[in-house]
């Protein structure tokens, strides 16, 4: 409870700082909205030429796109502290966090809060509505639960990847650029249901980095391509991945070597 209170204090401090630069904040919101929205436009253009990709229609792809976009933006909004983690280590801010009697993760999360992510979230909202309308999805309780679980599961997975990327900084004081392939790459390519990329990549995205748990499998249920309602709860599996990443993070903290002064 106290931690949540502290988190909101952190966020309000960060927001107060951001508001000091009003124009920059506004431009960031608009810029990010345009970048995210161009993804939507891209899909629209693509489907003006094709009727479907594999067995997915325009509306179904839009739905998939909006869910991945929402999950990623929420995760980036809340966990962006981990994105800039190499900076925290290099500037010595992480040393300061070690000197405070609070959870390190809470402090890292609290160090940054990207309100500019409202832009992509707006895109996600618009595409979600357009997607549901286009494929005339009938929203019953079970489908709404599936939808929410997918977004939350994706959020957990992307957050775990950000955490993983940060942890790499403990072992080499350089950016974990390789992780961007998994986070940004995952977001960009995850806008299409993963099975269109073939069986090999689907396996990779199930057993190594479990994207399919929040994307491909529950999507099958959401779109009525399967009646197996178990698929709706697959997104919960991403929590296991988060726990593994957290264990790795703990190991990294124990091996931390501060740099210079």
């Amino acid at each position: 409870m106290k931690s949540i209170r502290l988190y909101f204090k952190y966020v309000s401090a960060v927001l107060t700082s951001t508001m000091q630069y009003k124009l920059s904040f506004l431009l960031m919101c608009i810029g990010r909205f345009i970048v995210a929205f161009s993804g939507f436009i891209g899909i629209s253009f693509l489907f003006s030429g094709f009727a479907g990709i594999k067995n997915y229609s325009y509306g179904e792809v839009l739905l998939c796109f909006s869910i991945v976009q929402a999950a990623f933006s929420l995760s980036e909004c809340l966990f962006s502290g981990f994105k800039g983690f190499s900076g925290l280590v290099k500037r010595g801010d992480f040393d300061r966090m070690l000197l405070r009697p609070r959870s390190l993760i809470l402090q890292v999360i609290g160090s940054r809060f990207e309100l500019g992510r409202i832009g992509p979230l707006l895109t996600a909202g618009i595409t979600l509505i357009v997607g549901i309308r286009t494929c005339e999805l009938h929203l019953n309780i079970m489908r709404i639960i599936t939808l929410i679980l997918m977004i939350l599961g994706g959020m957990v997975l992307f957050s775990a990847l950000f955490l993983l990327g940060a942890t790499i900084n403990f072992f080499s004081i350089e950016d974990g650029g390789i992780i961007n392939v998994l986070t940004y790459g995952g977001k960009d390519h995850g806008k299409y249901p993963i099975d269109i990329y073939g069986e090999g990549l689907k396996k990779f995205c199930t057993f190594l980095i479990p994207y399919t748990l929040f994307q491909y499998y529950p999507l099958q249920y959401l779109l009525g391509k399967t009646d197996n309602s178990m698929y709706a709860f697959f997104p919960l599996g991403t929590v296991v991945f988060l726990v593994l990443c957290y264990a790795f993070w703990r190991f990294g903290v124990r091996n931390y070597k501060s740099c210079g002064n």
């Binding site: 502290l6 204090k9 300061r96 000197l99 405070r100 009697p101 070597k257």
Partner: protein, 274 residues
């Protein structure tokens, strides 16, 4: 209060020659060198002591402070602060200590100082009455009333340092580490900082460990000096002991008029720790 026994710490440092070609080579084959930052460092500090910790750049001062404050774990040796092993029970430990790094800020850059203080109150879970009392006391002693509403980035270095010191004391720690607190300050600010630290020790019996290159800091504040060089403790005693050591080992050190900086410089030369 503090016991350090046989602490050793070494770092692996990557080495390469200058130039782009060498940088490319280093991608494939990197040479490492083991730097022994601390070699068998031992000392004890009692409650309420004010200790100056000096030594040339790279002697291991910051490493010692990092170990004592729990940021780093040593390779070997024993270290206890009030019965706690700093890097093992981090949260309990840091609640009782304050740390000021002269070259780094712990305040939030874009928000008014008072907002940073409020955040620290929350972080350390300080109760409102004791926070208000402490804030009032610090505001008066460090003359902060004029600058509390200013964002950190707009403060002068001297103003910022006064705020940094206040920030590290809001939770009333029993032990205060100061890493070069007077670096870059003008004469007035330096005197203010020194006076404040002395009063802090007199009134609250706060134990202070101070690293600095400014020998006047040591003269004004510390009643004990620990000299470290190349990772080893070379001298542990009063300032007079240090002057005496410089005289006996030096060639013509008899003149009393010699200033402290010269004495220390000679001492560093004679001990061959530069």
């Amino acid at each position: 209060m503090i016991t350090m026994k046989g602490i050793c710490k070494s770092y692996k440092v990557a080495k390469r020659n200058a130039g782009f070609k060498e940088a490319c080579k280093a991608l494939f084959h990197r040479e490492h060198e083991l730097i022994h930052a601390l070699k068998d460092v031992s000392f004890t500090i009692d409650d309420g002591e004010m200790v100056g910790y000096i030594g040339p750049n790279g002697a291991g001062k910051s490493s010692t402070i990092k170990i004592l404050s729990g940021i780093l774990a040593p390779d070997s040796g024993m270290c206890e602060v009030d019965g706690r092993i700093p890097w093992k029970c981090r949260k309990e430990h840091v609640r009782e200590i304050g740390v000021v790094f002269g070259q780094r800020s712990q305040l939030w850059w874009d928000i008014p100082v008072i907002d940073s203080f409020e955040l620290l109150k929350e972080i350390y879970s300080v109760s409102t009455p004791s926070y208000n009392q402490k804030l009032e006391e610090l505001t008066e002693l460090l003359q902060l009333s004029e600058i509390l509403r200013t964002p950190t980035r707009q403060l002068s270095l001297g103003q910022r340092m006064r705020c940094e010191i206040a920030a590290s004391l809001l939770h009333s720690p029993r032990l205060l580490f100061l890493d070069e607190p007077t670096i870059g300050l003008d004469a007035v600010s330096k005197l203010a900082v020194r006076d404040f630290i002395k009063r802090l020790n007199e009134e609250h019996k706060t134990t202070v460990l101070l690293t600095t290159h400014d020998m006047q800091d040591i003269e004004a504040i510390a009643n004990r000096v620990i000299l470290i060089g190349k990772g080893q403790v070379l001298l542990d005693g009063s300032l007079d002991d240090m002057k005496r050591a410089a005289m006996t080992s030096g060639d013509d050190m008899s003149e009393d008029s010699k200033n402290l900086d010269l004495i220390v410089a000679d001492l560093y030369h004679n001990l061959n720790i530069l």
